[in-house]
C-alpha cells in the first residue's frame, strides 16, 4: 500500500544518498518504509504491548495502577472498543507524545526564524517548538497543563535537532494501549538528518513518577522527504461522525448500548 504520489525507500532501491542540508528540517515527511510504518495500533513501536518480557515497561506501582484504570481497545489488556475509555475515539485530543506513538502519519515541518511548527495529518493538529533560546517553564503546580505541552528545540550539531517537552496533560495516554504518564513526564525527540531525503526520529520518555527509568518509545524511525507538491489528505475527528459510528456499529458489535457504564 502507498499514499498515492508518495515516495518510499522501496521506490529507490539503488539510490545514492545526497548530502544532508545543514540545520534544515522543512518539508513534508512520510514514514520511509511505507504509510503504515508508524501506525502503532499495539502501542509504542519500540515497546509494543505484545506480552513479550522485553517489552514490559518499568512501571512504578503508581504507574501500573494508573495503567490498570485505562481500558484500551488494543494490546494485552484490550476490551471491545465500545467499552474502552480511550479519549481519542471520543475526539478528545490525543495530545503529545501520543501523536508520535500511535497514529503517526504524514507530517509537515515548517521551520521559521524563532520556532519550528509541525503539522500532523492525524486529526489535523499542530505543535509549536520554540527555537529562540527560551528556557522551558518551571514544572510545578502553577504550570497550566497542555495537551501538547511546552516545547523548546535546539541544534546540537548541524544535523541533529533535539526537542524537550514538558507540562503535558495527564488525561492523555502515551499510546494506543493506554500507557499512562504523570505531569512529571519529560519527552525528548531527537531528529537526525541523515541525508537529503531522510530524517531519523528517536523519542525517549522520562517520567520518574510512573516509570523507574527512562525508556525509548520510538527508535530511529525513518522518515522520507516528499515532493513539495504532495497533498496531505484531510483526517479529522468529528464528534457527530463518531457518535454515528458508535451507535450504528461499535455498540452493536460489542453487544452494549450507550447507557452502559464504561
Amino acid at each position: 500500500m502507498r499514499v498515492p504520489g508518495a515516495v518510499y525507500d522501496f521506490d529507490r532501491p539503488n539510490e545514492k544518498p545526497s548530502p544532508a542540508p545543514r540545520r534544515e528540517l522543512s518539508g513534508i515527511w512520510e514514514p520511509a518504509l511505507g504509510p503504515g510504518d508508524a501506525i502503532q495500533a499495539t502501542g509504542a513501536k519500540a515497546m509494543p504491548s505484545d506480552g513479550k518480557p522485553e517489552h514490559e515497561l518499568p512501571f512504578t506501582p503508581e504507574g501500573l495502577e494508573a495503567w490498570m484504570k485505562n481500558k484500551p481497545a488494543w494490546g494485552v489488556r484490550m476490551v471491545p472498543s465500545a467499552l474502552s475509555n480511550d479519549p481519542v475515539p471520543m475526539c478528545d485530543p490525543q495530545g503529545f507524545p501520543r501523536i508520535l506513538l500511535h497514529n503517526f502519519r504524514t507530517s509537515q515541518i515548517v521551520q521559521l526564524a524563532n520556532q519550528v511548527l509541525v503539522l500532523y495529518q492525524f486529526n489535523h493538529k499542530w505543535r509549536n517548538i520554540w527555537t529562540d533560546g527560551r528556557a522551558l517553564p518551571k514544572l510545578d503546580d502553577g504550570l497550566e497543563p497542555r495537551w501538547w505541552g511546552y516545547s523548546a528545540g535546539r541544534w546540537t550539531d548541524d544535523y541533529t535537532f533535539v526537542v524537550e517537552t514538558i507540562g503535558l496533560d495527564e488525561r492523555t495516554w502515551l499510546d494506543n494501549v493506554g500507557r499512562p504518564h504523570s505531569f512529571n513526564l519529560r519527552v525528548e525527540e531527537r531528529y537526525r538528518r541523515i541525508d537529503r531525503d531522510h530524517l531519523e526520529l528517536t523519542v525517549t520518555l522520562t517520567d520518574p513518577t510512573f516509570y523507574t527509568r527512562p525508556w525509548v518509545a520510538l527508535d530511529r524511525l525513518r522518515l522520507r522527504l516528499q515532493p513539495p507538491s504532495f497533498d496531505i489528505r484531510e483526517m479529522e475527528c468529528s464528534p457527530t461522525e463518531t457518535a454515528k459510528y458508535n451507535k450504528e456499529f461499535a455498540e452493536p458489535a460489542a453487544g452494549v448500548s450507550a447507557t452502559e457504564q464504561k
Binding site: 500500500m1 502507498r2 498515492p4 504520489g5 508518495a6 515516495v7 518510499y8 522501496f10 521506490d11 532501491p13 511505507g34 504509510p35 503504515g36 495500533a41 499495539t42 504491548s49 505484545d50 506480552g51 518480557p53 514490559e56 512501571f59 506501582p61 501500573l64 490498570m68 484500551p72 481497545a73 488494543w74 494485552v76 489488556r77 484490550m78 476490551v79 471491545p80 472498543s81 465500545a82 474502552s84 475515539p89 497514529n103 502519519r105 495529518q121 494506543n176 522527504l225 516528499q226 515532493p227 504532495f230 489528505r233 483526517m235 479529522e236 475527528c237 468529528s238 461522525e241 463518531t242 454515528k244 459510528y245 450504528e248 456499529f249 461499535a250 452493536p252 458489535a253 460489542a254 453487544g255
Partner: protein, 138 residues
C-alpha cells in the same frame, strides 16, 4: 512485589491475546471472531464514508425469505482511499458479495474483508503490496 504480581497476570493473558490480535483497524480487535469468514450475497443499503471508520450496510435474504440487516466496517477514509476505495464506491441497491469477519456475539455485524461486484470488480480491505517505482519523482 505488587508490580511483579500484576505484570505476571497481564503477561499470562498476553500470550493468548497476541495469538488473536489482527493487524488491521484502529478501534480494537477484541470484538471480532478472529479468523472466521462469512461470504454473503446482499444488496447495499448505505455506504458511510467517514471517520473514524467507514461502514457498509447491506441486506442479506436467506432461503426462507428472511432479511438480515448487516453492518460491516472498514478502516478510515485516507487508508481506504489508498486501497482503491472511494466515497462513491457503492450506491443503494448495488448487488454485492461481501466477505466479513463477524463479531463474536452473533449479531449481524463485522468487518469487511472483501467486496466483489457482479462484473468481478473487487475491493479489498487488505494492504496490497505497493509496486516499487510508482512513487512520484522528487
Amino acid at each position: 512485589m505488587y508490580t511483579s504480581h500484576i505484570m505476571k497476570q497481564v503477561l499470562a493473558i498476553a500470550f493468548v491475546l497476541t495469538l488473536l490480535t489482527p493487524v488491521a483497524a484502529h478501534h480494537g480487535a477484541a470484538t471480532f471472531d478472529s479468523g472466521k469468514k462469512l461470504v454473503m450475497e446482499g444488496t447495499v443499503v448505505e455506504w458511510t464514508w467517514a471517520n473514524p471508520h467507514c461502514f457498509l450496510k447491506f441486506d442479506v435474504t436467506d432461503a426462507s425469505g428472511t432479511v438480515k440487516h448487516w453492518i460491516a466496517e472498514t478502516s478510515n477514509p485516507p487508508d481506504m482511499f489508498n486501497r482503491g476505495w472511494a466515497r462513491n464506491s457503492f450506491k443503494a441497491g448495488d448487488r454485492v458479495t461481501v466477505t466479513v469477519e463477524p463479531v463474536k456475539n452473533g449479531s449481524p455485524v463485522g468487518r469487511v474483508l472483501q467486496v466483489v461486484f457482479p462484473d468481478g470488480k473487487t475491493l479489498s480491505t487488505q494492504d496490497a503490496p505497493a509496486v516499487p517505482g510508482e512513487g512520484a519523482r522528487l
